[in-house]
Symmetry: C2
Subunit: 363 residues, 2 copies
């Protein structure tokens, strides 16, 4: 699997007339070599595949990597990689989206005879189509998140603080074997729900409103991402209508997922319905994004852009309607783009569910 990725990257390297690629972004290093750690860089060339790391990680790196020789680099990772690249010579691709000006200056100084070519997205372009093993890990992550939500709604949550509810969810993810949450879990009640990236706080979840719950698990580095919105009692009319519109728009967008559809076209499927219902200004973000080793990665499903979906991509479909001062709704699934459509990973229901108030008054 990992060695295949190296072959594909090296094919792209040759296509661009490069002699080697220096991979320094840690997520890309992990994808290309299997190395998991905080200090690593890979040199990938047709006849040389190396992973540099420091003494803390050597033993672990030798066990977890595939297809690369692991070399000790001390603290000076770039220096060690540069020494190897000087020996290789020629044209070397570097990651324009990750290499900083300081690191670039060091490489330029260390490699007077090498042509450094900044390139964008060479590894990310591979990551975007998930392999079956990656899909399986994300399926496990999504199932763990679903289970956590199911356990959550079996107990009263009205009156508990957002942060406490978020922590209950995170504990459930961990107890089920996840490495952790894929981002800080969002529990946003009433007006807080109108803030898409609300940080769950000490405020209690109030009755008679909506509460947005956005969570994901990590399994072997791979993330899931899903959201549900619940009622905590009878709703004000605008929130009830917003939920119905959002649900319909999400279903329509899910049904429209297929290879070949443009990312803006897909975004428009949900956006047009929300706009026609009069909530256009209340849907301020894009329809979704890719997910994998990172919680936000390519492709981007937005109003602007020029990509198209391909089989193997894994994207979120997450329209939202945010009514300032009142509340918000977001319904989100992680979906695998298949040969002829889309296959949502989650199975948690989406019909509006009303959560009971705290029973009795005890815990």
């Amino acid at each position: 699997m990992i060695v295949d990725r190296q072959e594909r990257l090296l094919a792209a390297v040759a296509d661009r007339g490069l002699d080697a690629m220096l991979v320094t972004d840690l997520v890309n290093v992990r994808y290309m070599t299997g190395y998991v750690g905080s200090n690593g860089a890979a040199v990938l060339a047709p006849d040389r595949r190396l992973l540099f790391t420091d003494s803390r990680y050597l033993v672990k790196a030798r066990a977890e990597t595939r297809g690369v020789e692991v070399r000790p680099a001390g603290r000076d990772l770039l220096g060690a990689a540069a020494a190897e690249l000087a020996d290789l010579g020629g044209r070397v691709g570097i990651e324009a989206d990750h290499v900083t000006l300081s690191h670039h200056a060091r490489l330029v100084e260390a490699l007077p005879d090498v042509e450094l070519v900044p390139v964008s997205g060479m590894v990310e372009d591979l990551r975007v189509r998930k392999e079956p093993e990656e899909v399986e890990l994300m399926r496990r992550a999504a199932a763990i998140a679903d289970d956590a939500l199911e356990a959550l709604v079996a107990e009263p949550i009205v009156g508990r603080s957002e942060a406490e509810v978020a922590w209950t969810l995170e504990s459930a993810l961990r107890a089920a074997g996840a490495e952790g949450a894929s981002f800080p879990i969002i529990v946003a009640g009433a007006a807080n729900g109108a803030v898409p990236h609300h940080a769950s706080g000490r405020e209690p979840v109030p009755p008679g409103t909506l509460v947005v719950v956005d969570l994901g698990a990590v399994v072997e580095g791979y993330a899931s991402d899903s959201s549900r919105t619940f009622a905590t009692g009878p709703l004000p009319e605008p929130l009830e209508r917003a939920y119905a519109v959002c649900l319909e728009a999400q279903a329509a967008a899910l049904a429209a997922v297929r290879p070949g559809i443009g990312t803006t076209e897909l975004d428009a499927v949900a956006r047009d319905m929300i706009t026609e219902a009069g909530f256009g200004d209340a849907f301020g973000h894009g329809l979704g994004h890719g997910v994998g080793l990172e919680i936000h990665e390519r492709p981007w499903l937005r109003r602007e852009g020029d990509g198209t979906l391909e089989a193997g991509m894994m994207v979120t479909i997450e329209p939202g309607i945010y009514l300032e001062g009142l509340g918000g709704v977001r319904i989100e699934d992680l979906v695998l783009v298949t040969e002829d459509g889309g296959a949502p990973l989650g199975r948690f229901p989406k019909t509006l569910m009303t959560l009971p108030a705290r029973r009795g008054g005890g815990g």
Copy 2:
């Protein structure tokens, strides 16, 4: 506090002959403005202090920032900041250690009449000396970590998996009000303890060896970092000796902390003692590092370097001895450099403590 930081940065900006500074690293943006989020950039000039972020964060950013005007930037943060910088003109400092080649290319294109000057560490140089409010947050974080360790050792841990013990600690941090752990908590028994950055796994903590526990809490963005090593029964002689040597070296280094001491000189205090005891090769990392908004930040206490400690700095003192295949010991405190010495934040004892085996056999 935050406005003072802006004044100090602007003084440094003027000293370097710059007209403005573009701050894009999110930790630095937080430090300079108070903004906490995933998409923000600051333009700081004598007569203009701006924070750019997108619609998701506007309300929150306006509430949490100080001394800056918050401007909406949509997805194109750099574009919005660049428009402002074009208007300012002159020489603009950019963060060489954080700006990527892609972002640099975009800025160069957008700002043909501005001189972009890559500078290193201008904000980091301010962050290194902690203000009393920052020290107080770190003190709270350290106390929470100490409490979690105390609760941990009150229960048997031998026979439980490393990951489960780590999770018990993380849960305790959260229950005590921390935002979370400042890094993945390390619980490393027996030979795993010889791997300084061991990822806590499913292996049970065995009896008759050492177990390294390295943890930290986050309070309002500020991290703590401390390690203790425990015995889980009578020890093999090399481990017993390693513990005694490490403890003595740590005490000596702690006693040597004071303003004006060189970072390499301080590292040598512990390293020389460990080397004289015959364990020199088994202490592969530096003596410590700065801590603050980041778990690893300036200054670095290592064999190489040319810095000196100053009052207000917050550093770890963490010598370690790692005996491959056998076990490891690391003893670490977070220490505030005071006017005349060093004041450790933690209070957890360091005399070798032997943890009992699991009682009975139940949970």
